[in-house]
């Protein structure tokens, strides 16, 4: 407005004298503010991290490096409390290797983090169904199942799972 003539400025001031306080900001983006989804702020527990490390060592397939890279990403996200993003990354890896028992195990751990107990149980069982000769992984899956049943208040099933965890471990 530097080049406005004083008369025009006066005219305009006069015109707006009775109007409300001039507003300088313009809403040009027509989307309501939305909250980002709730993110669980807890970090991965030690045992979860340990489970991940073992899974990384055990993968031995041509696409290994991609899966490991995605597991790394998921690990970082989970540690940063971004369990939703971590789950998204594991799902990405699962689209590449849908029958990878470690990925299902890792997803089960994230479901624990998200307190989705029933989902955690199902995914750990899926991991077990795929982990044909890997007793260690199976044992860890039984651990996840036991924990989830405890959280669900089903002590009997939790105990059964603990037994299997020990038997396989």
């Amino acid at each position: 407005m530097n080049n406005y003539s004083p008369i025009l400025i006066l005219l305009m001031l006069g015109l707006t004298a009775c109007a409300e306080q001039a507003t300088k900001s313009v809403v040009l983006v027509p989307v309501e503010e939305r909250n980002s989804p709730n993110i669980d702020n807890r970090s991965t527990t030690t045992s979860e991290a340990a489970g991940l490390d073992k899974s990384k060592q055990a993968i031995n397939k041509p696409r290994e490096s991609v899966i490991v890279a995605l597991l790394d990403d998921a690990d970082n996200l989970a540690n940063a409390g971004k369990s939703d993003q971590a789950a998204d990354t594991i799902e990405r890896a699962l689209r590449i290797e849908p029958r990878n028992a470690f990925l299902w195990h890792r997803l089960a751990l994230i479901r624990i983090q998200q307190q989705q107990w029933q989902q955690a149980i199902t995914m750990a069982r899926k991991s077990n169904a795929l982990a044909t000769n890997n007793d260690k992984l199976k044992s860890e899956n039984w651990g996840v199942i036991a924990l989830a049943y405890e959280k669900l208040g089903n002590q009997q099933k939790a105990n059964e799972a603990r037994m299997k965890q020990k038997a396989q471990g």
Partner: protein, 758 residues
């Protein structure tokens, strides 16, 4: 005296004249004051209106629907030419040197890409220069060009596959001030408003100049309206050309300038200006126009393309580059000329830009008509969680699971195959219809969906809405019900396929028959399903109990009503191809029921994540039961009604599948799966007349054609630990029976000690 008198008279006259004059003056003054007040009130009112409108300006922005991104990583089977094809589809431009996003170049057996930035649910993937190296038909390595660093996995920008439009059918891609390319600002200034950054809403010099030019030319060649005035015209006023409207426009322009910054006004202008028409839908703003005419983001347009769009401001219809390319070219060159004259572009750039073709794409790429059935599915899924108004207005970004490659392969196959089938069967062209779903069984993601043989039509989405009798596709549910009781049934259990007469509740008799019109006496369970025998299946179903079979169907994800009638055992059960896919997903995934989904995530207008559709699984059956059912379906392919797969797709074996045929050959079905991909195909006629096709002569043929191109991974059956394999006489065919041995799977402890040969 007389003199005096005359003086007095004079004075009197003067006084009365004075009084009259002052009265008149007062009257004039009063009128002026009143008029002034009226004018002032009017100004205050329009000032208020302007600010109300401008402050509250919320453009309705359509939701943008994207396909899934193409994920590339070392080790993935994906040919160089396919990547190039995909890049071109996404309007990446082949260049000799990478200078900006949206470009690629070929370097022998590698491709260099300058990728575009994209907001995914898990974060932004920034634009970067990448090298993809190929080794034959595989990707060998991916690295960043500048740093040389290995990149494990990349996502190629998803394709915009459709939009969900506001009610008044406006299309808009919103551009913020920072996103306005400098060349666009320059072009607008050069052509539309030279003193934009100096004037107060009106440009007196501009008006004088345009009057002069118009007088010289003898016609209206240049308008004197500033960008601000044009914005006012677009936002508030009608198109009529009257004096009062012009005054209003000038007043409002001044007020707008008083209240708002140049940046605000320019942003609004860039988003508001009318630049074309797509059928009933108007194209507003430069962001939308860039997509509409060039299928590229505004930031990727060169000077020539920007000039074309700026040229459209004067008359989007008159200069429409699709209908009037010569006129548009002339106008574009005029814009370039003005930019050059005013020193915004160099002589060299001017020459180069002028030499370029218009470069306008024939049709907008995001035309929803491209994958209408799929978009229909996405809409239905969105409606569960979103209000329709939000979808139409809020500019949501919908990330779907559509795999463009698979969808297009399927579309083409269906078109060609149906014409062939019609010729073979002596049907008039257009008699047969088809529907198809392709899904990823471990995630439930729907990769492709077809609801009509004509890919552009979606008046009737057969994949979702055509509920047809499913015939033998129901059988796996019956065998699964049996195998879930390992104490009673195993794959070699003896079933009775001798004549069966059933008394129905209405007193009528029902005599189920086999397709070959023969009965087969005692047969092993595996042969009953592999050969798709009806009589033994009905007997088995009745033995198991209708309620148990119905429960299995529900567990598999069937939600349509299932009549409690024995005829359901032969598939007298009306389901859509989509629902059949849901059912086979549960079988193909090995015991996990996962709701089919078409949406991965929804992001807001700024790319911030709003909602993700998690993988949610439900275990509905014991893994060993699911395994045995899958095994039976691989045997259907190896030795049964789908044996043609072994001949036509030898390199993809093993696969699993089931054919389905209904009474009088009305419906032809095939459901089949490999390690990851599941696809269900239906062929029939809308009027339910016979299609003269069995499952294997119709739908399965289309399935084979599609899989020849998609090349799904062979099915790797990983047996749960409760499964054991035992050798028995080969029971596949009566002739081979007991001649050789074959390993069969059993739930541990359930293998029979002795079997009969038949």
């Amino acid at each position: 005296m007389p003199k005096k008198r005359s003086i007095t008279r004079k004075r009197k006259t003067q006084r009365s004249k004075k009084t009259k004059a002052s009265l008149f003056k007062r009257w004039v003054l009063q009128t002026i004051v009143i008029l002034g007040c009226v004018f002032l009130s009017y100004c205050v009112w329009i000032d208020f209106e302007i600010r109300k409108e401008f402050d509250g300006k919320r453009w309705a922005i359509p939701a943008r629907v994207y396909s899934q991104p193409l994920e590339l990583y070392a080790g993935r089977r994906y040919e160089q030419k396919s990547v190039i094809e995909r890049l071109k589809k996404a309007t990446y431009k082949p260049v000799t040197t990478l200078t900006g996003p949206g470009q690629f170049r070929l370097r022998g057996s590698s491709i260099e890409i300058y990728s575009r930035q994209f907001h995914y649910w898990d974060g932004v993937e920034e634009a970067r220069k990448l090298r993809i190296e190929f080794n034959g038909k595989q990707i060998a390595a991916i690295s960043e060009i500048d740093s040389g660093q290995i990149v494990h996995i990349i996502r190629l920008t998803p394709m915009l596959i459709g939009k969900i439009f506001p009610l008044h059918d406006e299309d808009r891609v919103l551009i913020t001030y920072d996103e306005i390319p400098e060349s666009l600002i320059k072009a607008l200034i050069a052509v539309e408003d030279r003193h934009f950054f100096e004037h107060f809403g009106l440009d007196p010099i501009g008006i004088l100049r345009s009057v002069f030019i118009n007088l010289m030319a003898g016609k209206v060649e240049q308008g004197g309206s500033t960008l601000t005035q044009q914005l006012i015209k677009n936002m508030f006023l009608t198109r009529e050309r009257t004096f009062s409207r012009k005054i209003n426009e000038m007043l409002m322009a001044m007020m707008l300038e008083y209240h708002y910054s140049k940046e605000n006004i320019l942003s609004a202008y860039v988003n508001e200006v009318y630049l074309g028409q797509n059928g009933l839908r108007s194209i507003h703003g430069f962001g939308t126009a860039a997509e509409f005419y060039f299928s590229k983001p505004l930031s990727e347009l060169n000077n020539a393309e920007i000039s074309l769009l700026v040229g459209l401001v004067k008359g989007a219809s008159y200069y429409n580059p699709r209908n009037n390319p010569e006129r548009a070219l002339k106008r574009r060159d005029l814009v370039l000329n003005l930019m050059h004259e005013q020193g915004f572009i160099s002589a060299e750039e001017y020459k180069l830009s002028r030499s370029k073709a218009l470069g306008v794409i024939a049709k907008p790429r995001w035309n929803s008509a491209k994958y209408p059935a799929y978009i229909d599915l996405v809409r239905r899924h969105l409606k569960r969680d979103y209000r329709i108004d939000d979808l139409r207005n809020e500019g949501l970004h919908i990330h779907t699971t559509l795999d463009v490659d698979n969808q297009e392969i399927a579309q083409n196959s269906i078109k060609i195959s149906l014409s062939g089938l019609e010729k073979n069967r002596g049907f008039k062209s257009g008699t047969l219809q088809a529907a198809l779903v392709i899904a990823e069984q471990h995630s439930g993601e729907v990769l492709a969906l077809i609801g009509d043989r004509n890919k552009d039509k979606n008046a009737f989405n057969r994949a979702l809405d055509a509920k047809r009798s499913i015939g033998s596709l129901v059988k796996p549910a019956i065998y699964m019900t049996a195998l879930d009781i390992p104490g009673r049934y195993n794959v070699l259990s003896s079933l009775d396929d001798s004549k069966l007469i059933m008394e129905q509740s209405n007193g009528k008799r029902w005599v189920p028959t086999n397709y070959d019109n023969k009965t087969h006496g005692n047969i092993p369970l595996i042969r009953s399903i592999v050969k798709s025998y009806n009589v033994s299946t009905v007997r088995l179903g009745m033995e198991l109990g209708l309620d148990n079979v119905i429960q299995t169907l529900k567990n598999l994800g069937v939600s349509s009503p299932i009549p409690r009638l024995p005829s359901i055992l032969l598939g007298a059960l009306n389901l859509s191809p989509y629902e059949v896919t849901q059912m086979y997903q549960a079988i193909a995934s090995g015991g996990l029921q996962i709701p089919l989904k078409s949406i991965r995530a929804v992001l807001d207008n700024k790319g911030q994540p709003l909602r993700r559709y998690d993988l949610a699984v439900r275990e509905y059956v014991k893994p060993e039961t699911a395994f045995l059912t899958q095994y039976l379906l691989t045997e259907v392919v190896q030795n049964g009604t789908a044996k043609r797969l072994t001949r036509e797709l030898p390199s993809l074996m093993p696969l699993a599948g089931k054919t389905g045929t209904t009474n009088a050959l009305r419906d032809s079905w095939f459901a089949g799966f490999g390690d990851r991909l599941l696809s269900v195909v239906w062929v029939g006629r809308d009027n339910n007349e016979p299609a003269k096709l069995t499952g294997s002569t119709g739908a399965m043929q289309i399935w084979i054609d599609i899989m020849k191109k998609i090349k799904p991974d062979p099915l790797v059956l990983i047996e749960p630990e409760e499964i054991e394999w035992r050798n028995y006489p080969d029971m596949s065919n009566p002739v081979d029976s007991c001649v050789q041995t074959k390993a069969y799977p059993f739930v541990k402890g359930s293998a029979p000690n002795h079997i009969n040969c038949y």
